[in-house]
């Protein structure tokens, strides 16, 4: 299965942005997503490689149009559904 994350050596994505503004997070929700990840992994709900797999399994258009931590959040949601922690669609319709 060709995965959209695996683009090493592919032309056309433009130069890599290597600027470092020393800010780990650019919104509060990003830090909360990392907290969610640490808590769920720490509880053994999923392991790091399952999490990587979930990010890599994203639909290519969604992968390319989302930010780094948006991908983290979507991957966590997908894993929680797969593991039965969340019912399919349970998060839909929630505000905020």
């Amino acid at each position: 299965m060709a995965r959209i994350n695996d683009v090493g050596g592919t032309q056309g994505f433009g130069p890599i942005d290597t600027t470092d503004d020393a800010e780990p997070f650019h919104a509060d929700w990003e830090a909360r997503v990392v907290g969610l990840f640490n808590a769920l992994r720490g509880q053994g709900v999923f392991n790091t490689n399952e999490f990587r797999d979930a990010i890599e399994s994203m639909e290519p258009r969604e992968y390319l149009s989302t930010s780094y931590y948006e991908r983290w959040f979507l991957a966590i949601c997908a894993l929680l559904e797969r593991k039965g922690v969340l019912k399919p669609g349970e998060l839909e319709g929630l505000d905020g």
Partner: protein
């Protein structure tokens, strides 16, 4: 631990297929010839643990050196990748 299957200097070739799951062998390095630099220590095979399985085998990881020319057809530098033992097979001299 038993002696490593691929001592430093062993000429190896990576697998060529596209697995239907997470893997640490990037697409640009599939089916490529390289040379083992050194063992990096054993670790659970990420390809299996990424599937949520508890039976991931522990394998030796090797630093493997590739000529950029062999990966991309150009370039004078080398690329070193950390690869699990089952990604590799010995590259028989008579096939080079």
């Amino acid at each position: 631990m038993a002696e490593d299957r691929f001592p430093p200097g062993t000429r190896v070739r990576t697998f060529h297929h596209d697995p239907p799951h997470h893997t640490r062998l990037p697409r640009y390095a599939r089916g490529k010839r390289g040379v083992v630099v050194e063992p990096e220590g054993p670790a659970e095979l990420a390809d299996v643990s990424a599937q949520g399985r508890a039976d991931a085998p522990v394998e030796q990881i090797y630093a493997v050196r590739f000529a950029a020319r062999d990966l991309w057809g150009e370039g004078d530098h080398h690329v070193v990748l950390d690869l699990w033992e089952s990604y590799l097979e010995e590259d028989p001299a008579d096939e080079r």
